[in-house]
Structures are given as C-alpha cells and as structure tokens.
C-alpha cells in the first residue's frame, strides 16, 4: 500500500514535469505508458475494420444477385491477381524491414526498404488499374458450335442469339458506334457496382499509404526520420500492414470464392 502510494506520488511528480505533449518525442508521461499516437492508430484501424466490413458485407449480400453479366468467372484471372497479391505481401515484409532498419539507426537501410515498399505498392496499384481496364473492355469471343455444350459461361450463352445463319464465331458485341457492350463498369450490374467500390476503396487506401511512405522517404533526406522518432515509421507501417490484411480477406472472399465453380450462380 505504501509502495503503491509512493509510486503514485512519483508519477504525479513526473507528470508535473512533463507538461504537455511534445510533438515527435515519445517520452512524455502517459497513464498507461503507451504513446498517444499509437493508441490513436490502433483505434483507427479497429474503426476501419467496420468500414471494410460494411463494404465486404455489401459485396457478399449481392453476390450472385446480378441480373446481367459479366459475372466474376468471366473476368477474374487468378494467376494475375495472385501475382499482385504476392507483391503486396512482399511489400509488407519490406515495410517491416524498413522499420527494423530505422530502429537500428540505419538510415540507408530504411531508405532502401521504404522505397521498395512504396514501389511494390505502386506495382500493386498498376495491376489494379490494368485489371479495371481489362474488365471494362472485356469482350466475348466464342465459337457458335459450342452453344449448348456446357463449355460456355452463362454470360456467353446469353449471346447465343448472335449465332444466326452464317455466323460461326462471335467476336465481341458492339453497338452501332462500335462501343463494346460486354465490359464491366460500376453501372453494369450489382457485381460491377460492389466489386469496383470495394476494391476501389482498398486501392484508395493503398494510394494514401504510398503517399505516406514516399513522404517519409523524402522527409528522411531532411533529417526528419531518425532512430529516436521510429514511431513515425511504425505508424505508417501499421497502416500499411492493415491495408495488406484487408487485401488478404478480399483476395479470398472476392477472387477465390468469386470464381469457385461450386457456388450457386445468379
């Protein structure tokens, strides 16, 4: 009891000295001994779980409810997305190595790793842009002899009326101005709406992360990133890893489950 009281009084004295929050120094007195900003970051990440949870719930509730195609199995290319998933996973590793470097005081190591993290993030974004572009320009190509054999997807089958007398293959569906009518946009169907919104917001998170990482990279040349202020890196890293784990969920739920043939279709 006396010991506790002594501790309390000591804490109070320290508190009187540590007057207010000093930006960048992590030595201020706090009740729990934990840093304000780090607590804020974790609370934010918990809150962001609800954000992505709501988006994922929307995607799943509308899964298989689209009235017209294209459907996930017409578009997704698991090998390509696996590569971009792998890139994002590896960026998490280089992020953590950047953090480990700055904690050892190695500014050079920090710069190498944080730049490679940002580059991998940009690679991931490039994949995403490519994917969105591909989906928006998706065309149907099939041999009319395949109609009714079960080799065509439901979306392709829906164009069997194109196979009129004298037409042996269908090479894309276009309107009179030559516009492709079989691409996926946010307006096309529920799948397009929910897919682009969910992955788009993830992409926006990645973009913000890349900006943050690059800011730290450039700030390090002005002496802004030091061993004493490794927390600045830690916070960016936490955010970056969070973006990565959200993608782990999206990859499984949207991509792998999305083209899984055993699932009920619309």
């Amino acid at each position: 009891m006396i010991q506790m009281k002594a501790k309390v009084i000591k804490g109070a004295r320290i508190l009187q000295e540590a007057v207010t929050t000093q930006h960048g120094t992590d030595h201020e007195y706090t009740t729990t001994g934990l840093n304000h900003r780090k607590l804020l970051m974790w609370a934010f990440l918990g809150s962001d779980c609800m954000f992505f949870g709501s988006l994922i719930a929307t995607y799943m509730v509308y899964y298989g409810k689209s009235k017209v195609g294209p459907f996930p199995e017409d578009l997704f290319s698991i090998p390509i997305t696996s590569v971009s998933t792998f890139v994002l996973l590896m960026s998490s590793m280089s992020m953590v190595l950047a953090y480990a470097a700055i904690r050892k005081g190695s500014l050079k190591g920090f710069r190498v790793w944080i730049l490679s993290t940002a580059l991998m993030g940009m690679t991931f974004l490039a994949f995403q842009v490519f994917e969105f572009y591909e989906f928006a320009n998706h065309e149907v190509h099939f041999d009319c002899s395949q109609v009714g054999t079960g080799n065509l997807s439901a979306f392709e089958e829906s164009f069997q009326n194109e196979c009129i007398e004298g037409v042996t293959t269908v090479d894309g569906i276009h309107d009179s101005d030559g516009n492709n009518l079989t691409g996926l946009t946010p307006k096309t169907n529920l799948f397009g709406t929910t897919f682009f919104t969910l992955t788009g917001f993830h992409g926006a998170h990645v973009t913000l992360g890349v900006i943050w990482l690059l800011s730290l990279f450039f700030y390090s040349f002005r002496g802004g990133v030091t061993r004493e202020r490794d927390l600045d890196v830690d916070l960016a890293a936490l955010y970056w890893h969070f973006v990565d784990i959200v993608w782990i969920v999206i990859f499984t739920v949207v991509y792998l489950f999305g083209v899984f043939p055993g699932f009920p279709e619309s």
């Binding site: 001994g33 607590l39 709501s54 992020m95 480990a100 784990i245 499984t252």
Partner: protein, 111 residues
C-alpha cells in the same frame, strides 16, 4: 536538473520495451510462410475434387495469413495488450455484423 534526467528515464519504463522485437530473419521467415500459404491457396483452387471443401480450407489459410501479419508485422504479439484489445474489438464486431447481415439476407440458406 539531474533530478529531471532521472525522472525522464523513469517515464521510459512504462513505454513499450523495445528489446524483444523480432529480428529481420524472423520477418523473412514470416514472409516465406505467407508466400507458401498463398501458393497453397492458389494451388488448392485448381483441385476440383475438393468441391465445397475448398471453402473451409481457404478460410483457414486466410485466417492464418491474417494472424501472422498482425502478430509479427504489426507486432501485436510483442506489444501492449491494449492495442490488441482496441483492434480486435473492431475486428470482432465487424466480423459479427457481416455474419449477421449475411444471415439476415439468407446467404447461408440454400435456395
């Protein structure tokens, strides 16, 4: 002034202990495990005999990846439990709300 110095070291006691963080080698190992799990996920995906069995397998594998990242890369394993509490509260609630919404929309009811 000397007294001051003394106290600032005191305050440091409470903050996170920096010594027990994992080494870069650990980070590398974790990355390898993550890669292998991803490879298994993609590989399993092409095994058609599994049918619906793919769902629990993929779910478990993803949860493992998720857990590895938050435990090691986000060093929740080495950090104060308050951080885990804050994050896992949001995560658990998000999970439950998603499940509840899916149930309410008959996602789990075979049509």
């Amino acid at each position: 002034m000397a007294q001051n110095e003394d106290m600032s070291t005191e305050t440091h006691l409470g903050s996170e202990n920096h010594s027990d963080h994992p080494t870069p080698l650990t980070y590398f190992k974790v990355a390898m495990i993550l890669s292998i799990i991803t490879a298994i996920e993609v590989g399993i995906f092409y095994v058609e005999d599994l049918s619906y069995g793919i769902i629990p397998i993929l779910t478990i594998l993803s949860v493992m990846k998720f857990a590895l990242v938050i435990m090691f890369y986000m060093h929740l394993r080495y950090d104060n439990r308050l951080f885990s509490t804050l994050f896992l509260t949001g995560l658990a609630l998000a999970f439950l709300v998603v499940i509840a919404l899916l149930a309410l929309f008959q996602f789990f009811t075979p049509s």
